[in-house]
């Protein structure tokens, strides 16, 4: 087993669309997603009748008591297919974390295996009215019985404990973490579709915000939004006849923790051990190493995840990412730096999960980034979620052998 992805660069992204990213859309999430999907299909030079595969991940990442209603708070592949091209050859949903690498992998495999010719991958994120994570639950069953009655509940406390370990071990300062958020917001402010468009952040503004779960402050978390994005995938061969320069999927990897843990318990050692394995699998799958990648886009739903991805991917030694960031290592305006938050990320767009990272890779490799286009980007890498439960994808402008 070499770990090589046999369909390396055989499947390509050929079109996309994204809705505006707003706190609350002016129409239902289902309607927003149908419009976005139609736009993506048209962008790819196709019609809905030609789309015979639908893939998504429907996770609604709230710990609160919000209802999961298809078309309202989530949009499943079946729901969307029923409104665009009913009874497609292939419809699937990814159920783990790392929804973007997970659902993209399902779509790539479906195209490569011939289960469908044109697959639409979408992600729809919902911001409910009221508190995102609040619950009035009087009882907890299953895994949460071991944590919630004790007061351990929700992703803020989860990340607070993970990041305390990092701070204690490596001496990361609040000022260094500020640089992550300021960089994300700087890049997000330049995006017309972002919730934070035109609204960069200063270090002083960051430091003035309150702590929520020390050492995680309010601006270390992405803001919940309504938004939808869709990407169309087909074979590299078919892609040659479509309007836009195709972006091929070279490989992917997803992780798994080394140990069963309490719900939302993310010990730092678990993240880094599994993260190193995720990276090794990614390089083997894609046939590239970090030095072969022109553009790396890391996930930042919580700001410390930027450090953890930088270290898991090997951009810096373990424990050094906070210094790398403080020294301007990720500054998109500094020549020679590694602009890992060029997409604005979740902190600079809103809670779009791994969409900004995937979108930036697609735009830059396809040459469609407009004023923000960077020269010479022919390979790219996007991450989502954590290094131990999420995953990553590698892209290439070049089609695979035999195409």
């Amino acid at each position: 087993m070499s770990g090589r992805f046999r369909a390396r660069d055989q499947v390509a992204i050929v079109g996309y669309a994204q809705s505006p990213v707003t706190r609350h859309a002016d129409r239902s999430l289902g309607a927003l997603t149908v419009e976005t999907a139609r736009a993506a299909i048209a962008d790819a030079g196709l019609t809905p009748e030609q789309v015979d595969g639908f893939v998504t991940a429907t996770l609604f990442p709230t710990s609160g008591a919000h209802a999961v209603v298809d078309g309202v708070s989530v949009v499943s592949a079946d729901w969307l297919a029923a409104r665009l091209n009913p009874n497609p050859r292939y419809a699937a949903g990814f159920s783990g974390l790392g929804q973007i690498p997970g659902s993209m992998a399902l779509a790539v495999n479906a195209v490569a295996g011939g289960a469908a010719e044109h697959v639409l991958v979408h992600r729809a994120l919902y911001n409910p009215a009221g508190s995102y994570h609040d619950t009035g639950a009087a009882e907890f069953r299953g895994g949460l019985q071991w944590t919630a009655p004790q007061g351990f509940f929700g992703p803020l406390a989860m990340m607070g404990m993970t990041y305390t370990e990092y701070v204690q071990r490596y001496g990361a300062s609040r000022e260094a973490l500020a640089e992550v958020v300021v960089e994300a917001r700087k890049n997000g402010a330049r995006l017309p579709w972002s919730h934070w468009s035109g609204r960069p952040l200063s270090v002083e503004q960051y430091l003035a915000e309150p702590m929520l779960a020390d050492p995680i402050g309010r601006l270390d978390c992405d803001i919940p939004v309504d938004g939808a994005a869709a990407f169309v995938l087909t074979t590299a061969e078919r892609a040659r006849d479509l309007p836009h320069r195709p972006v091929h999927v070279s490989g992917y990897a997803t992780g798994a923790p080394p140990r069963r843990r309490l719900p939302a318990h993310w010990p730092l050692d678990d993240l880094m051990a599994a993260g190193a394995t995720t990276a090794e699998r990614l390089w083997a799958s894609a046939g590239m190493g970090l030095d072969d990648i022109d553009l790396v886009q890391v996930y930042d739903g919580f700001s410390p995840l930027v450090y953890l991805w930088l270290e898991a991917l090997g951009r810096c030694p373990v424990g050094e990412a906070h210094r790398y960031v403080r020294d301007g290592g990720i500054d998109s305006d500094r020549p020679g730096a590694d602009p890992v938050l060029l997409s604005g990320g979740s902190l600079g767009n809103g809670r779009m999960h791994g969409v900004p990272q995937l979108l930036e890779c697609y735009l830059q490799v396809s040459g469609r980034a407009g004023d923000r286009q960077r020269p010479g980007v022919t390979t790219a890498l996007s991450c989502h979620s954590s290094p131990h439960l999420g995953g990553a994808l590698v892209y290439s402008a070049q089609p695979g052998a035999g195409v």
Binding site: H133, T135, A137, R141, Q150, L156, R169, I216, L262, H265
Partner: protein
């Protein structure tokens, strides 16, 4: 709703022995009857030996531990905690001699000493219990003299 207003665990066949002991303020871990490994929480398959019939027994441990990490919760999303914020959650690795040589067992609970208590990685703690209702208590921790 309980007097504390806090949510309660609902025991199931795997967890009931733990909660019965906790009600008596005794911390237990689950010992696999096939391989003897202690774990928390119990699962349908033993993580250590793969037994699909682990017949876990609730085994008392002494409740001493070392703090691996912590956070200060300033905004709780749960009912019954509004009057308790800010509070400290600690990630504790139990250090009972019975756990020597096996994978780490970690519990997360409130540190009852308050947010101003001095904390450092490796700080010694011992289990304490918060009585949520007359017949139900949940584990928490207190700093122990080192």
């Amino acid at each position: 709703m309980t007097s504390s207003g806090r949510p309660l665990p609902v025991p199931d066949p795997l967890s009931a022995p733990f909660w019965e002991a906790a009600a008596r303020h005794v911390l237990t871990l689950s010992r696999c009857s096939d391989c003897g490994t202690l774990t928390h929480p119990p699962d349908v398959v033993c993580d250590a030996c793969g037994s699909t019939d682990p017949r876990f027994t609730a085994t008392p441990v002494d409740g001493r531990g070392a703090v691996r990490s912590w956070t200060v919760v300033r905004q709780s999303f749960l009912p019954g905690f509004a009057d308790l914020v800010p509070f400290v959650l600690v990630d504790v690795q139990l250090v009972d001699p019975a756990l020597a040589g096996q994978p780490d067992v970690r519990l997360v609970g409130r540190l009852l000493d308050g947010v101003d208590a001095p904390l450092a990685a490796g700080a010694a703690v011992r289990v304490a219990f918060e009585q949520l209702s007359p017949d139900l208590a949940v584990p928490a921790f207190e700093l122990a003299a080192s």
